[in-house]
Amino acid sequence: MPDLDSGHIFLTTLAPIRDSGKGRLEHTSFTQNVRIALAKMPTAMQSPATQATGNNSPFARNKRNHLARMFVLNDVVYNGRIGQNALAAIVSKQDPTDPQPVDRLNTSYVVFCADIDAIAEDGAPLPIDLDEAEQKNVRMAYARELWNTMEDELREVYVNCVGFDGVETADDFATYLEKCHVKTTMPFHDYYLSLPKFNVLPLNRLLIAVAIPAAIAIIALLLRIFGVLDLPGLGWSTFWTFVCGVILSGLVAVWAVQYTLKNGEKPLGPGEYDDLPSVLKALYMQQKFSDFVVDHQGSSAKDLHAAFGKFLSEHKPKDREGPTQGPGLISSAVPASKS
């Protein structure tokens, strides 16, 4: 499953947490320590209470993540016994009172998910497609950016994890996080202004490709059953035609499934203005432009023209870098954070 879609990487990493207390006299487990570190980490400034603290989320210190989530995965959820048809259980001599095995994780994990711009350098355009090595490069660059902007917070969490010893530099952390990387697809955002070209599966054509050899095989079989040994006109053996038809339709079916999976893996192209700096700028412009419209309702064309010129020079719609809305803030009116 690809992590890349719409010019973004949907990153998922799982870091195993050490499985014992910190030391002989410590009563706090490593898992508890992770939870404490996460509970202390500020959320984004998106409510009056969080704004009052003046502390923004450390993830707001970079301009690449659209969404970031860190949580502790204690174990897989147990869904109870696997149900079975009562008659089938009797026939197969399974005793419903015998306990079934229960799946457990070998340890708890720190799960870190982030939707990020698939770029290795701030300001780069969003890509349409990236190969494995390029995707790795993006992930490593993002990890380095995180380390450079929130090393303390990351240490407090990951110091409780297996294999984190010896991580001292941004490169070390990037290598560490790469080891924890899990391929998945879990997009949390999309900002398409107009829908992209979808990779539509030619389902009917695929079905026909499988159905034609299958139909020939069935016809040949039926003819054989009714005693026709050779195909009329062609003279082919109905038996071998049947065998070839079955093999061919099987091969086409395998190919069709592979084609379908590959089609599903093709990433969609990025939407216009889909990178985080553009999204923040758009939020900023939306608010400023609404104010502008209200302030100049009913103005004469001349006044409006002059005012709009001033508006453009003040707010610079084409400049993604500024003036703009800060990351992790709910509106452009909210003052920037302390940290």
């Binding site: 009056p48 939306q286 209200v294 309702q297 009913g298």
Partner: protein, 557 residues
């Protein structure tokens, strides 16, 4: 298929908006119970007089004055309903409306709790004191009793039948007989000097005659298009009642599932909503939010005048047309209730009024004509999916927010249909995402009918009762997401122009048809015109449950 409801088991206020059944007067009482046994005795006496939903006249005689009763969570606790039953009830009902003020937008959501201690200083004293102590506190509201009365048949002085006063005295006598076990709480009104909330239709005076109108104090016709659910009407009446008030299925209108409004019946997601045990305690009952909504009529007129001036100038229309158009574009209906979706412009509206005789020189005839129209399917039968951009009725208008009709169908197309050059018709649009958010609206205006004496400071507004099987999913959702927020309507943070809190978000956008060559207009000076003055959540039990409460035999095992 239409199921048959046991209407004799359901309280009448759930099924009927009494105001529309010629009951223009009401008194709402709030009572405290200090002695459980006396409380049960009181309930037993009241339940025999409770007005059920039984049909008039074939199954029950229409009373001159109705009686209905409900209980707050604290009330049920004091009446010794077992904990296992209580904890099965709705969690928002348990915590009560005051606790939900943030969600409802009743308090300033830009302030944290600790810096806003006195947030409900403007509430009536009875509601400020309510739920400030544990369940049995002497100032807690435990019971709600409503009396709805008809107009005196003879005479035109705008007075209720005597039965209203007789019933009031009956309640007072019952309290007196309870040895202090049940008391009627006072604390209603700004000064807290009333012991019931009086309510009545707004009356128009014509010479010596006073005629009840369908209007509230801002001057809009109200209470149109109340939802219709399965079993509510006789099958023959249902055919017309359901038009515009049920849900769209294919090309026809169907009643909404009973379970959306009454517990113990399947709802629109084809589930039986979870209810407290025993089953017969909750079946045929429902939940109700009582809200006293004060109307700042002075502020409303001031703001409207300011906006009228700039709108008239910008659109080059008369002040009268500007004012009426702005009012309609805020509400979604013209003042007389005619929907913008049907009659989108001022000249067409004037023509429509003339056609229908709303301007008849005889005020009685004019009012009758209006009432006939408002009661007809025509006043409710319209859609929004053919006006996705809000060119006729703005996307943020009050009635579009309260009942989104077919607007939220995810398959609706927005923009201009290249085939017609007009907005997409979206003829197949359904009531998806709407039919689980409907609310039965009950209640009446309160305050003096003569608008001349009314100001922000005087007491006028609407005593509102909102009924649904799930307060959280229906009432609270509509209040939070559709009244106090605008995302579902592409209105950003803008709140409902009429009911919304405008302390921080003061705008309402009125799109213009591009063909008109006029720019859109943004109202930008809105203030909070309607403010909650208190209320709480109540459980409206079935007649069976009332008997069980009175007998003290609610047994969840």
């Amino acid at each position: 298929m239409t199921n048959s409801l046991n209407l004799n088991d359901i309280q009448g206020n759930i099924v009927r908006a009494y105001g529309r059944f010629s009951f223009p007067f009401a008194r709402y009482f709030f009572l405290n119970i200090s002695d459980p046994a006396e409380g049960r005795k009181f309930v037993d006496a009241v339940r025999h007089q409770v007005t059920t939903a039984a049909r008039w006249p074939e199954s029950a005689e229409k009373p001159e004055c109705t009686v209905n009763i409900g209980f707050s969570f604290h009330g049920l606790r004091v009446l010794e309903i077992p904990p296992r039953t209580l904890q099965g009830m709705s969690d928002v009902f348990i915590v009560g409306m005051k606790e939900r003020a943030f969600v409802l937008g009743d308090r300033d959501t830009t302030k944290v709790t600790t810096s806003d201690d006195n947030w409900n200083a403007h509430w009536d004293p009875i509601w400020r004191k309510n739920r400030a102590t544990d369940a049995s506190g002497p100032v807690n509201v435990h019971m709600w009793i409503s009396l709805n009365a008809q107009l005196k048949r003879h005479g035109t002085t705008g007075e209720p039948v005597e039965a209203l006063e007789t019933r009031t005295q009956w309640l007072r006598d019952l309290c007196d007989q309870s040895n202090g076990g049940v008391t009627i709480l006072s604390g209603i009104g700004k000064k807290g000097d009333q012991d019931f909330q009086s309510a009545s239709a707004v009356f128009d005076t014509h010479g010596k005659e006073k005629l009840p109108t369908p209007k509230e104090h801002f001057g809009f016709a109200d209470g149109i298009s109340d939802p219709v659910f399965e079993g509510q009407y006789r099958p023959d009446d249902m055919k017309t009642a359901v038009i515009g008030r049920g849900k769209r299925v294919g090309d026809s209108w169907e009643p909404i599932a009973t379970g959306e409004f009454i517990l113990g019946h399947p709802d629109e997601s084809q589930e039986l909503p979870p209810t407290a045990m025993p089953y017969e305690f909750t079946q045929n009952g429902t939940y109700m939010a009582y809200r006293k909504l004060h109307e700042n009529v002075g502020t409303f007129d001031d703001v409207l005048m300011q906006e009228t001036n700039s709108y008239a100038k910008m659109m080059d229309v008369s002040a009268e047309e500007a004012k009426e158009t702005l009012r309609a574009k805020m509400c979604g209906r013209w003042s007389d209730g005619v929907p913008l979706a049907r009659v989108p412009t001022y000249p067409k509206w004037q023509e429509f009024r003339k056609d229908r005789g709303f301007d008849d020189p005889d005020p009685k005839t004019a009012l009758r004509n209006l009432r006939v129209y408002l009661g007809s399917p025509e006043a409710s039968d319209f859609r929004y999916a053919d006006d996705m951009q809000g060119l006729k009725c703005p996307g943020g208008a009050h009635i579009r927010r309260m009942n989104t009709r077919d607007y939220l169908d995810p398959f609706n197309q927005t923009g201009t249909d290249p085939k017609t050059g007009n907005p997409f018709e979206n003829t197949k649009a359904t009531h998806a995402l709407n039919k689980r958010r409907r609310i039965l609206r009950r209640g009446l205006p309160y305050g003096a009918s003569d608008p001349k004496g009314n100001s922000d400071e005087t007491e006028q507004g609407v005593a509102m009762m909102l009924i649904g099987a799930n307060l959280f999913r229906q009432f609270e959702f509509v209040q939070q997401q559709w009244i106090q927020y605008g995302l579902d309507f592409h209105q950003g943070n803008n709140t409902c122009p009429m009911l919304g809190n405008h302390d921080h978000h003061k705008r309402h956008t009125i799109p213009s048809d591009p063909k008109s060559g006029k720019p859109p207009y943004v109202m930008s000076k809105l203030k909070s015109f309607v403010e909650c003055r208190g209320g709480d959540y109540f459980f409206i039990p079935s007649m069976t449950a009332l008997r069980m409460i009175a007998m003290g035999i609610v047994d969840p095992t």
